[in-house]
Symmetry: C2
Subunit: 297 residues, 2 copies
């Protein structure tokens, strides 16, 4: 089968960036530049990398970006005060608070403090609720929205499909489920959500037409858990020890790619699958926030 | 097996009413009477019956109730104005807008106009979002919350269980899924959400330890779709023609009760199963809203 079954996340993300760039040009012709604020607390190295990538993509597309880095011991009240300022700032259309936050900060309180109309990460409860209700006026979280686009744009039909979502996190698993179960032709999947308490994960996986792995366990999905021809989407990003690597570790996904790829109908590489899509959807959400704000004023 | 496997919704609802009555007595000793507003638009006969039952239970428990009936052709703006008044009324702790609403009224707009702190029906997007996020500060919708209590109080373990939810409505199916997948010992189920586009509903049902039927198809769940010993919860309320009945029709559930009951481990009668629980949870939500409001002031 070679690599003919790869879902090229980088190429699909570029398609979306091109669409987004067109929308940005239209906004600029009307004197509006979309603006995106990044808020990062502490020195988590992965967070630095993620925010850096998002900043560079913003710059490339012509989105104004404003990054605020707060020390690790910032009190919650100070972070809330910053969010109030950004909520009120007319140049800022989207606000992203990079996860994870330090333990002394209540993440739920922070996400709820971002104005829903600027919540381009889709973490505010009102946007989560709209997602489950199928109300398209909200913002969908970027990673599951990116997975939906990967499926749609690589011709994978979810309508009537048996889908297994592995992992019940708030950022991927639960919203993924909410999106896939909706009554529309780009969803309409029969979804089973598996997690740490699921008795027979392998059994569920073997019946699935589509598997979306987002539980954060290195190479959890093995070849014998896949129905031949199934579509496999790997959302996992796990750092594991590797003595042969320069820094003693390397990143792997939630799927044993080398052994699963020959059996899968389509599969995302990792990296180069879901990752670029997350950023593409963030840019798209930001531009949409700017469009909606300009339609209001 | 006789009827030893029946889950008695009326008895469990009375347990909850007794707990609620104790909380009401405590509130009253502090000079607070919980207040619940019912808003009904038009003359839908089932809505009249439902609101009547909820009013009588409020009266019995000592909850102040205030019912507003608007004509069928009420403009949306007038209904929104009424909700603003009720949101501002300190005597009212809970507001229930009885579904269904006439077609010219946008239901999503109405549910979003009820102040989340008074949304005892749990339909506001912020409460739906909190439900999916596992944030217990919100209000859970009454029917799925009632099903959870039926399971817990009749000793059914959901932790690790395979659960099939039939139907993806906003009032039962989707919130049921959101509650059952949470990471806590009263949830932790592996849930599959089946609906009109599901290819093999019977296959999913046959693997299920617990089936929750809420798709609104009369007697859809047949004996050959049940694993022996499975728990069957029937949320359906369907009016079907019956020439032998006084008014030419009768109510049936989504489960073929007579044939399923001998095979099921436990099963809800219908009526007398989920119905009384919906009202019990509404009363409980209202009292909780009053407690939270009094803690704020």
């Amino acid at each position: 089968m070679g690599f003919a079954n790869l879902i090229d996340g980088r190429a699909i993300a570029e398609q979306i960036h091109a669409e987004t760039a067109t929308r940005i040009a239209t906004l600029k012709s009307r004197g509006i530049q979309p603006g995106l604020a990044f808020v990062r607390v502490g020195d988590d190295p992965a967070s630095k990398v993620y925010v850096g990538m998002k900043e560079r993509t913003s710059l490339r597309l012509g989105i104004f970006s404003d990054t605020r880095v707060l020390p690790r011991d910032t009190p919650e009240s100070e972070l809330l005060a910053l969010l109030r300022k950004l909520n009120a700032d007319a140049r800022i259309h989207g606000i992203l608070v990079q996860a994870p936050l330090p333990a002394h900060i209540r993440a739920a309180r922070i996400y709820a403090a971002v104005q829903p109309e600027k919540d381009v990460d889709g973490f505010h409860p009102v946007n989560v609720g709209k997602l489950l209700l199928g109300d398209i006026t909200g913002f969908a979280p970027c990673t599951p929205a990116g997975v939906m686009q990967l499926l749609i744009r690589s011709g994978v039909t979810t309508d009537g499909a048996e889908v297994v979502v592995l992992g019940r996190g708030d950022i991927v698993g639960k919203p993924m489920l909410a999106m896939l179960c909706q009554k529309n032709r780009y969803a309409n999947a029969t979804v089973t959500l598996c997690h740490s308490r699921t008795r027979d994960v392998a059994g569920h996986c073997r019946r699935a037409d589509i598997i979306i792995a987002a539980m954060g366990v290195p190479e959890f999905v093995k070849a014998d858990m896949i129905k031949p021809g199934a579509v496999v989407i790997d959302v996992g990003v796990n750092r594991i020890a590797d003595a042969t690597a320069k820094d003693g570790s390397r990143l792997v996904g939630d799927v044993d790619f080398a052994r699963v790829q020959p059996i899968a109908g389509k599969i995302t590489p990792n990296p180069g699958g879901v990752g670029p899509m997350t950023i593409a959807m963030l840019m798209q959400n930001t531009v949409r926030a700017a469009e909606l704000a300009s339609a209001q004023s």
